[in-house]
Symmetry: D2
Subunit: 358 residues, 4 copies
């Protein structure tokens, strides 16, 4: 009989619950991780509400920090007891998509090797990490050892928040001296702001209205924060840039309104780097798009994963380039995760991210 | 009193007319070209119909082949009598946009140096080339000498059609071995097909329904031509690619339907390279966009201009990489341009491009 | 007791020999391939001569075409009996180098995941394919099914010759309208010429002196072939380009002389794309390098491998973009491979590539 | 009779001198700048010593800060009295090289539009700025207005030092999380260190031995400074990176020794970004180059110029991303420039850069 563990289950739209599950078995290429810290993502709230559908009974969560408990028979290069993180996205490394560098669209089982969003498996298509243990597929591509001197909370943002946020800046091809606007300053938008700063933007304009997030935006590197409840964000950015517009606009919310505003503030030839998870069709206004003649680029990016990405992000943390522990505003035990979900869903008490420890 | 010349004038929506105009004076940085051959673009039809607004009285046309008649006092490196082409887009070279390589968005007079579609001046914001003479601004950035052994008709597609069509392939970053779909096989779509072939695509799927254009698509390099009146183009492309989709989809028409189809046939991580001039807002369907998580890129490109671009395109012609004379299906005298417009607007008689000679 | 097979062994500098070896056992991630066709590479001659050191007793050869004989227990997505090729370079997919796209420098066993030339294992650090059977590591990243309608000889150049040759063009970032010089027209140089053509170069200048290779260069896409025994190649290329120089120069031999000539024919800002395997230090002449102020790029590329690369190359073959069967000038049985080595080492009888069949 | 001005003249190898010269006349595309601050570059020392040959009698200096005194008749968009800087490199904007983005290799007068180092004109092929007035060619491509709140010394590093130093990081394609080594921490190496920091490197290893420069390196962003007099730099960097090597190595001195060391510390697939002005042939050691199979890139970059580049750099200054006033260690009047040269040539008194004011 399998040993049991506690795990956070998607029960039905509107309800998640902590329940008992067997500790997973692993195959030759896999690893079993004992979770030491994890967190809740905005996407988990979408899942809980039934807005992003997953199978009832699935263990959710995709931001694991833990310790290697067991290694598959074919896994080399690691030891049990090692502290590791695993990216939210777990490419296999050998699919055609992965070999092409499209790790997030890894089509492990697809005959042609591509699958939309295929790299996101934890808490989406296989069991996730809001539990005591986590089964990690393709361990050699995904287990990233944590440098000794970094705490769990210091690396907790790496699996998703930093990786996604930074990719907003990276996919925008930000260059030294660019002007950048970042729409919404939730955890991912804040890391997009931090990423824009890391890549050399000389003017970063954040758009937000929640006071705690406006404050955090400045700490993460924004030069100006526009409160969109006090003035029209597009007009404000046009004014701030003397009518020029921005080189890169990052969308970090997932709404038509922010997508459209991001397009409207771009200078001709600029890049709209989109991170949001949308829940409806999007409209591209003819005028903002210069009728298709403005040399615009619109690029969406799903969180980059894999152990090399995690290594790089932990290096950023280790070298004190950006302190993301500042985003951990609350701490809960796994036993109380239902309360943590409630708080996070309501975005009350200035919450940014909640550290969950089993 | 100025000497007079014949010129094609936008009179009012629905009407263009041949009229007499003074031969233009030129400033120190300019050149005067005597037009020897020009042609009519689909965009000119939009202008004629009033769908793309220009000032009444403007001389239209933006695809000039001619001979240098006069050079501005500050222009060096050219001689009167030299045969030249000039791109449809005439960047100045020294605006901030131009210095950044965004020649088509050149904001010559804008304080910050960027202006949407600012590089397109001929027949848009200044007088164009469907006339006996053409005033060329910023001559040193724009006059491209024609190699001796090339005829007017051989280089007639360079100023716009080839430059735009090829840019569809270039902005798609086509790589050796890519699968590419090209939606619509008018002159620009045909050159996009040719460009995809030139860049090493191993499978090119063209979408068209007009028999002459389907035939031309194969001659320009398409491996398969899908007749969208006989089958659903998206389904056909999915079938042809065994469900994988294409690496790059090029939109060369300017309609919601083709834009959307182009997005739907992309593999995750693919690029939609858009060339069309749209006349309404566009919709991005949520499913085709993988909710913003599919690592898609949508990129629009306005015809690249400038003398260096023209030099490169004429090299392609000179080395027989692609024969675009095949696109010239009709020939008219400038005196008969009104009839040529009629034919071209109706797309009758298998017309692709009409050579106009004064 | 293991079954035995015939295999080509590096015995000692100056000597290879056909010998009997046990058919290899495979691990869970591996595959066993029955070789149906293979070939000899210029690098194998270096190995035979002791110029590139490998362990005595090693089976050599790295260009396998064959049939899956056995699959490791953890390998999915393939069937025994399937026809496949495997790239000369066999990345694992999950090393840090591989996850970064540096497949050829894959450091499978290195703690930091990078190893110079680490992706080249066959006939270098593990047994190769000039034998009846081949042990393929990391099968899921490397087995590339052959389309039914392609013969062994049609795909025989994919594992190394085409992949390396094309990469010369790709690493040069050849653009539509570029002028390109390719130094040496052995099998790899010929594929570099073909790759330059596939990527849209408008003028390709090949440098060679062997008549059969000069002829082959034209068939593969060269516009001009300079015989460096009849005139100085640098002077000839300067003359042909009217003093401008080339945008990209590809070195495909591995000598100081060709490396230096490639640098000398570059226009300022050009790219020297180097494919050669050098056997001594290289010198960069100060003048050719503009004292370090010419915005030059020198880039070396080791043959790209992995199943996705092989898929793309076979697509090029399948779509008749380039016929490389033309490079197979001779055919030998594996039993006679020692004679084949002799012929190939002497470069007699107009030999380009020799197909070897067990 | 022209009015006269004071100017610094290259007299003969080993001697520069302050002399009287006529204030230059300007043509229609030019501007006359009254210099308010300038500085001496390491390259000027090479010129003085005769190591980099220029015409005797030439006014030297290429780092101008000043005020517009007169505008050519065809120049628009500026006003007399405006404070401006001009890059050391002055592209025309309309040459083929410039239109291709190769501004530093601008071949204004060359028939094919490219000329090695052609963009560097001031104090090289035309009179420079260590004088009371400066004749600026192609004014509209090159005059960059200084934001009101920035002092002359704040922008004094933009024309060359920052532009060159940053380009070392940019040409290295530094990415978030990269490890970077910078060889030599003179003014350009210090700005390369600053540029690496701006682009998101997570570990920056500077190599230097002069105490003041080692100190400055840390202030500009180095995480570690290796004193190459105390330990072998290559060994030290290998140790610091746990044997992995660096992703990007920047050479900022111009010697065989540093060039070679930069190559030796690269991980496979890494980039050697070279800024140094070399004075002899360079050697690439076979082992450090992995015999041409290590996927290495060697890229040289000449200081990027033009008004858009200057605008971007001044934005970096204005937004306090990097304080380069720290590099101005000494101040001299133009009248005393000969003494300033002496100090700078001797690198005595901890000198980094000397501000010169007429």
């Amino acid at each position: 009989m399998s040993k049991m563990m506690k795990a956070t289950i998607f029960v039905e739209p509107g309800r998640i619950a902590l329940d008992d599950r067997p500790i997973p078995d692993i195959g030759p290429l896999d690893a079993l991780i004992r979770i030491t810290t994890t967190t809740i993502c905005g996407t988990d709230i979408h899942i809980m509400k039934g807005e992003y559908p997953v199978a009832p009974g699935l263990i959710i969560g995709h931001e694991p920090v833990g310790v290697i408990d067991k290694l598959g028979s074919a896994v080399t290069g690691y030891q049990e007891g090692q502290r590791v993180i695993v990216g939210a996205i777990t490419p296999c490394g050998w699919s055609n998509a992965s070999l092409s560098g499209h790790h997030a669209q890894c089509g492990r089982a697809a005959p042609h090797g591509y699958e939309a969003i295929g790299g996101w498996r934890f808490g989406n298509t296989i069991d996730g990490c809001q539990a005591e243990f986590l089964h990690v597929p393709d361990a050699m591509a995904n287990l990233a050892p944590i440098p000794d001197d970094l705490s769990d909370e210091q690396v907790l943002m790496c699996p998703d928040i930093m990786s996604t946020g930074f990719s907003g800046a990276e996919s925008g091809n930000i260059r030294i001296g660019d002007t950048v606007a970042v729409f919404a300053q939730g955890p991912i938008g804040l890391c997009a702001t931090g990423g824009a700063r890391l890549m050399g933007a000389s003017q970063i304009i954040a758009v937000e209205t929640v006071p705690e997030r406006m404050q955090a935006a400045q700490e993460m590197g924004a030069d100006v924060v526009v409160d969109f409840h006090k003035e029209d964000a597009v007009e404000a950015i046009r004014r701030i840039t003397n009518g020029r517009g921005v080189d890169v606009a990052i969308e970090a919310l997932g709404l038509q309104q922010t997508f459209e505003a991001a397009l409207r503030v771009l200078r001709p030839g600029g890049v709209l780097s989109s991170l949001g998870v949308y829940s409806g069709d999007l409209q591209i206004p003819l005028d903002a798009f210069a009728a298709g003649l403005g040399d615009h680029t619109i690029r969406t990016t799903l969180c980059p994963g894999g152990k090399e990405r995690m290594r790089r992000l932990m290096n950023i943390v280790a070298s004190n380039r950006l302190d993301t522990t500042r985003l951990v505003t609350h701490r809960y035990r796994l036993d109380d995760i239902e309360k943590a979900y409630e708080l996070f869903a309501e975005q009350s008490d200035g919450v940014l991210k909640i550290a969950i420890t089993p």
